[in-house]
């Protein structure tokens, strides 16, 4: 049954991808990308990867769609017609597709118990998580403790992406700041979306906090929580106008969250070194090594959540405020 469902979702995924490529209306393409992300999230979910599904749904279907729409408002929403033949493109894509399909022949079958990953590393993680860290969600344990370096790298990637966008789009052109007031009212005079939205925002943020602090026991963690809280704030910005959201959470606070989150993560590692362990070896943080691990995971997840939430909101504001100013 689940096999048929998975096949159905993957087929829809391929159809959506082809539609994205073929459409010339960029607005339609953005909507289809959102649908693509939602289907992808459903796919992750039936593969039992609930953590990834949460991220994909919140970031892919939620935040990036809004950011794409903000970007579209700055440009034209029709694709430029292209001239000349495209056989170079087609042949490159064809060759690459064939290569990738050829490469999948060496891949172990999905769920194959003899696959290399199930031979030594995965059983080791599952076995040792209870001994070293003692939290039920093995994914969180791997993500933030066993593979802490990778996650640190991911946080720095988020940090770098945020800085890159802010460098390109500019933080705030101060000369035109006066023009903002009249236009950025959002949906203020549309009563129904506003009432319902206001009703939902506290629950969205509450759910984000739940995902943040429940990451050790169920699916979730810093990445998901940051993205969910960011969607809540973006919903507020859509309802009340972007400048109102910026007044609630000023730009300085957002940048502080991005920098502070990344710094918090890194400094936990350095503190571990000062207390006599290796970089990001949380066992030395407390007298009891297991509690030390849990404490370290809690702190670095908080850092990840802050960085992701701040970065997404800063990028959103970078696009949205430009739309109003120009």
């Amino acid at each position: 049954m689940i096999f048929i469902f998975g096949l159905f979702l993957l087929t829809l995924l391929v159809i959506t991808a082809i539609a994205i490529v073929r459409t010339e209306d960029l607005f339609v393409a953005v909507m289809l990308t959102s649908i693509f992300s939602l289907l992808m999230a459903a796919n992750f979910f039936i593969l039992d990867a609930a953590d990834v599904a949460l991220t994909e749904a919140a970031v892919g279907a939620g935040v990036t769609t809004v950011i794409f729409l903000c970007a579209l408002a700055l440009t034209d929403d029709k694709e430029k017609p292209r001239q000349g033949s495209r056989w170079v493109t087609f042949s490159t894509v064809g060759v690459l597709a064939l290569l990738i399909i050829y490469a999948t022949f060496d891949k172990p079958r999905l769920g194959d118990p003899d696959a290399p990953v199930h031979q030594h590393i995965a059983p080791w993680y599952i076995e040792k998580t209870t001994e070293y860290i003692d939290i039920p969600n093995v994914v969180t344990a791997i993500l933030s403790s066993f593979r802490g370096y990778d996650t640190l790298g991911e946080v720095f990637v988020v940090f770098a992406a945020c800085i890159g966008v802010l460098f390109i789009l500019g933080v705030s052109p101060p000369r035109q700041a006066k023009k903002v007031t009249s236009k950025s009212t959002g949906l203020r005079h549309h009563l129904i979306p506003q009432v319902v939205g206001r009703l939902l925002i506290p629950f969205i943020v509450l759910f984000g906090l739940y995902v943040q602090f429940h990451g050790e026991y169920g699916p979730g963690g810093g990445f998901q929580a940051g993205a969910i809280i960011a969607t809540g704030v973006i919903l507020y910005a859509l309802l009340e106008g972007e400048s109102e959201a910026l007044r609630a959470i000023p730009r300085g606070v957002l940048l502080g969250m991005v920098v502070g989150g990344a710094l918090l993560y890194g400094s936990v590692g350095v503190v571990c070194m000062f207390m006599g362990g290796a970089f990001l070896d949380y066992s030395v943080l407390a007298a009891d090594p297991v509690f030390g691990q849990q404490l370290g995971i809690l702190i670095i997840e908080a850092g990840v959540g802050m960085a992701v939430c701040g970065a997404l909101l800063a990028i959103f504001h970078a696009f949205a405020s430009r739309e109003i100013l120009s």
Partner: protein, 113 residues
């Protein structure tokens, strides 16, 4: 006995909900212009939400899952009609006139779903 009755009732609700979604889908494809399409999709969706979630709650019995399903149903019942309203409102503001006589919204550019 009561178990079988509940099971049958829940399956009736689920099938009715599925039929609602199907009708909404056909309506979304077949109806002539934007407002009639959105009308078909949104009303059937709301009904299907109630039917399908009631069916699933009966299947789940008295447990935490029922409470979660109820919360999701409440969420969908709030957001679905609001989204439809926002969509229709945006279409109206962008200049698409609600006219039952039109058989297509081709003349206007910004009309497709």
């Amino acid at each position: 006995m009561i178990d079988i009755a509940l099971d049958v009732l829940s399956w009736i609700l689920l099938l009715l909900g599925g039929a609602c979604v199907l009708i909404g889908g056909i309506g979304g494809l077949r109806l002539p212009n934007f407002y009639t399409r959105i009308h078909a999709a949104s009303l059937t969706d709301t009904m299907a939400t109630i039917l399908i979630f009631s069916g699933m709650m009966l299947q789940a019995g008295l447990s935490l899952a029922t409470l979660k399903l109820f919360a999701i149903m409440l969420f969908l019942l709030l957001t679905g009609p609001t989204a439809t309203y926002a969509l229709a409102n945006a279409a109206l503001l962008s200049g698409l006139k609600p006219d039952a006589g039109t058989t297509s919204d081709k003349p206007k550019e910004n009309s497709s779903e």
